[in-house]
């Protein structure tokens, strides 16, 4: 298990801990949105401090000022009884007060120089509504996806797994952003070792700001230099619920709609959650098509280069005429042709991703069709290769997980290099290099290529194909769960309608 090295230096911010409340209020008063005022009511007064931009003004008026104005109080304890808000804390811990104020709590003191006061939660965060997923859209099945607020996300998961064993552990990561990171697992199913490793890794993260869960991915990955992602990120709550039930961990990061799951294996990157909504034979065929598409996408252009440059004997005679005539006018050797086309497609993709939506669609069509046709007519590329490159690019998008799609586009280039070097033998050698890398890759310490290697026949039922539900009585062996049985198979022997 890789450990992130702790930095020996401390940030300058940490060097100046705010020791007293007055220091805190001094620092905060340089921001325009910090509000501190004295509120008088019924003869008594109190000092209320909060950040205007973090607190809902209606909340202040109705739930704080209004009850306070109707009662009198001398002690903080009495205030606690007056205010109709849950979970009021009385504290004098400066750090706690600072943390809470910054996240939208209201601090009420009786006197201006008091060191003790009440903290109440008044958080009003702007948040997006729960909407259909964009990346992992499915035709059938639930269409809820995660939003940026941690609490809403946990709500979406909890309503699908309403059992007390679903545990949420929270850690704050990031010196400046103090992002809340929650680890979810089902106690009694998930392996304790996995949980401990995950918690330890997250706690060891030293960084200043965590805007998204992908930062956590990269920092706690087993091998951050590998092109293969070792964490599956998803935006579907139903997928997370199913993954938790299998025995894995889910990591939620406040501010990010993508939830991470660990440990994962290579075959999971090719399974869409929609597979479980379709009958098992159809789903299995789709999975195999996906795997075939990915293999095709990675190897077809290198094979084109290899065969046309070195192994002309392999081309059937009838196809030879088409290929030669498509290449006669082209001044470049096959490798340059392929690199030009691949880079053009990458260019189109990047441009299409960066352009605003309205212009993006037009440019996509224009770029694709016009540039492609024009380059064939100008004699810069051959039409056969254009078809192959376009199909390969299309096939690389069949993976449901976006990170893996990027990987596939990237690993095509070493294959091209080796194909140009040693033809078809180079392609084979490159494949072996990647295999060596994959065999040594781990995800949370578990081998990446399970269930193919180490061979777990039980787990193969849900890897390359998806066998019917009644055959999947046991949880995946690789996860070494504490409770391997999903359901009692004796009860599932026959489907019989009630006979009268």
């Amino acid at each position: 298990m890789k450990q992130i090295k702790k930095k020996t230096k401390t940030l300058s911010i940490e060097k100046q801990p705010l020791n007293s409340l007055s220091d805190l209020f001094n620092t905060l008063s340089s921001s325009e949105d910090f509000s501190r005022f004295q509120f008088d009511s019924q003869g008594t007064s109190c000092w209320i401090s909060y950040l205007k931009t973090m607190v809902n003004p209606d909340f202040i008026h109705q739930s704080v000022l209004s009850p306070l104005s109707q009662h009198s109080f001398t002690l903080l304890q009495e205030m606690k009884g007056i205010l109709p808000i849950e979970n009021i804390i009385i504290t004098s811990n400066v750090q706690e007060i600072q943390d809470s104020l910054m996240t939208g709590y209201i601090f009420i003191q009786l006197y201006e120089q008091d060191s003790e006061g009440i903290l109440l939660s008044g958080v009003a965060n702007e948040t997006r509504q729960v909407s259909p997923p964009e990346v992992e859209f499915s035709v059938v099945g639930p269409k809820e996806s995660f939003v940026e607020t941690l609490d809403t996300n946990i709500n979406l998961i909890r309503k699908r797994l309403p059992i007390p064993q679903l545990t949420v552990k929270e850690i704050k990561v990031g010196k400046l952003s103090k992002t809340r990171v929650s680890i979810l697992y089902i106690d009694g199913i998930a392996d304790q070792e996995n949980i401990n490793t995950a918690i330890q890794r997250i706690q060891d993260i030293e960084y200043d700001q965590i805007p998204d869960s992908s930062f956590i991915t990269q920092m706690m990955a087993d091998n951050s230099n590998s092109p293969f992602p070792q964490v599956v990120d998803t935006e579907r709550p139903d997928r997370i619920a199913s993954i938790l039930a299998e025995g894995k961990l889910a990591i939620l990061v406040d501010g990010s709609p993508m939830v991470l799951t660990m440990p994962v294996t290579l075959v999971e990157f090719f399974s869409a959650f929609e597979d479980y909504f379709l009958p098992w034979h159809i789903a299995s065929i789709f999975r195999l098509i996906r795997l075939g598409a990915v293999t095709f996408s990675v190897t077809i252009t290198p094979l084109y280069v290899a065969v046309l440059t070195y192994h002309y004997q392999m081309i059937p005679t009838d196809l030879l005429a088409t290929l030669i005539s498509s290449r006669t006018d082209i001044p470049f050797p096959p490798i340059i042709e392929v690199v030009i086309l691949e880079l053009s497609i990458e260019l189109l993709r990047e441009a299409g991703a960066r352009l605003p939506t309205k212009i993006g669609q037009t440019i996509g069509i224009v770029g694709g069709i016009v540039i492609g046709t024009a380059s064939v007519e100008a004699g810069l590329t051959s039409n056969v290769l254009l078809i192959l490159v376009a199909l390969a690019a299309l096939a690389s998008f069949t993976t449901p997980i976006y990170q893996m799609g990027n990987t596939i586009r990237l690993i095509r280039f070493p294959f091209l290099f080796f194909a140009q070097l040693w033809g078809i033998i180079g392609v084979s050698t490159c494949f072996l290099f990647f295999l060596a890398h994959l065999l040594q890759l781990t995800s949370l310490g578990r081998p990446y290529l399970t269930p193919v290697y180490p061979l777990r026949l039980m787990d193969l039922k849900d890897a390359l194909f998806r066998l019917p539900f009644n055959w999947q009585g046991k949880r995946p062996v690789q996860l070494r769960t504490e409770d391997p049985e999903r359901f009692y198979s004796e009860k599932v022997t026959e489907k019989k309608d009630n006979e009268k």
């Binding site: 070195y310 192994h311 004997q313 392999m314 081309i315 059937p316 005679t317 040693w422 033809g423 078809i424 033998i425 392609v427 084979s428 050698t429 494949f431 072996l432 290099f433 295999l435 060596a436 890398h437 065999l439 040594q440 081998p447 290529l449 193919v452 290697y453 180490p454 061979l455």
Partner: protein, 364 residues
């Protein structure tokens, strides 16, 4: 077990099948038919069966040896012959393993140079493949075992391709049976040993198997599968070629692949050689791994540095062999050494160990 190996580096006993089988199938199968036909003619399939049976016996002896020795060959040597002589004998074994790696690598490079790229520079091809092997070895024994497993599965289509030459088969080539004397058949069996060499690496990776005793039957299955493999390739070559033709065809299996045709691809031998890279690299990996591990055990060297030096030795030897007669000679030398090691040294060691344990047992 006398040697402590972390559980994270061990593999389940089932993998003994793939480990042993993948080391045995290497470059030999591409051209072994000519060698065995030299003495026994088309009765040579009996030689293969004989060699297979003999190997099963030797494998059984090896398992007994290792079980009683409670470790690997180096600890057995140490116990029987003492530290210095035992160390010397173990070093000889390591050199033999390095020789095996050189032979495999150079023969395969030669195949690529003759069949695909005549101008391929030997040293760079060997260097890249050695680099690849080192990358696997650095990942530990598990990675190497994984490679062997996947390569056996990856090379299964090659068996299916054997169907195509059968269209031109002359099955009556086998008859009449037994036209050669038993002596000739035995001579061919001796020539077949080179194809079965590789099983002695069990002596080095035995401690890496979880519950090594359970892996016995997988080891025997592996030998059986290898024997069947060789018989299949031999039979197809026999019915396709006539004896005179076969005697002048250096790489009979590759010539068989020349005629396989699919609608999309015409000449299958290029695909076959590309798949064959994945069959030869495991051989290289296990041999280098064995040498590396052995060196660490005998001399307590640091693993990575020794690995580089060993790889360099293999690389230099490969580059120095430049012509076909030299390579042939090396193959013959390797085959002879392997034969005597397997069939004389192992039984000798077994007997010595048996006697010594009986004697020590009586004393202690």
């Amino acid at each position: 077990m006398d040697i402590t190996i972390k559980d994270t580096e061990k593999v389940s006993p089932f993998f003994a099948f793939f480990l042993i089988h993948s080391v045995q199938i290497g470059v030999g199968i591409l051209g072994f038919q000519r060698v065995i036909v030299k003495n026994a003619g088309y009765d040579a399939w009996m030689s293969i069966i004989l060699a297979g049976i003999a190997n099963q016996v030797i494998l059984w002896l090896m398992y007994e040896l290792l079980k009683r020795g409670n470790g690997d060959l180096i600890s057995i040597h140490r116990k029987i012959f003492g530290k210095w002589i035992g160390g010397f004998l173990s070093t000889l074994f390591i050199l033999y393993v390095l020789l095996a790696a050189t032979v495999f690598l150079r023969s395969f490079t030669q195949v690529v140079q003759v069949w695909v790229f005549p101008q391929l520079s030997t040293w760079i091809f060997c260097a890249v493949l050695l680099l690849l092997a080192c990358y696997y070895i650095v990942g530990g024994f598990r990675t190497v075992a994984g490679l062997c497993f996947l390569s056996v599965i990856y090379s299964l289509p090659l068996l299916i391709v054997l169907y195509f030459p059968l269209h031109y088969a002359h099955f009556y080539n086998f008859f009449p049976l037994m036209t050669h004397s038993p002596m000739q058949i035995l001579q061919s069996a001796k020539a077949t040993t080179m194809e079965f060499l590789g099983v002695e690496l069990l002596l080095l990776f035995y401690p890496f198997l979880k519950e090594p005793d359970k892996s016995r039957r997988w080891g025997h299955y592996a030998l059986l599968y290898t024997t069947i493999f060789y018989i299949a390739f031999a039979i197809v070559a026999f019915v396709y070629f006539t004896e005179e033709q076969l005697k002048s065809t250096i790489w009979a299996t590759l010539s068989l692949w020349k005629i396989v045709e699919f609608p999309i691809v015409e000449r299958f031998e290029y695909i076959g050689i590309a798949i064959w890279v994945a069959v030869v690299v495991p051989n290289l990996c296990i041999c280098l791994w064995g040498a590396n591990y052995g060196m660490k055990r005998i001399f307590s060297f640091k693993r990575r540095r020794v690995l580089l030096i060993l790889a360099l030795i293999v690389f230099l030897s490969c580059s120095l062999l430049t012509s076909h007669p030299h390579i042939e000679k090396l193959n013959v030398v390797f085959s002879e050494i392997g034969f005597y090691f397997l069939y004389t040294y192992i039984p000798f060691l077994f007997l010595v160990q048996l006697i010594l344990y009986k004697v020590r047992g009586q004393q202690g």
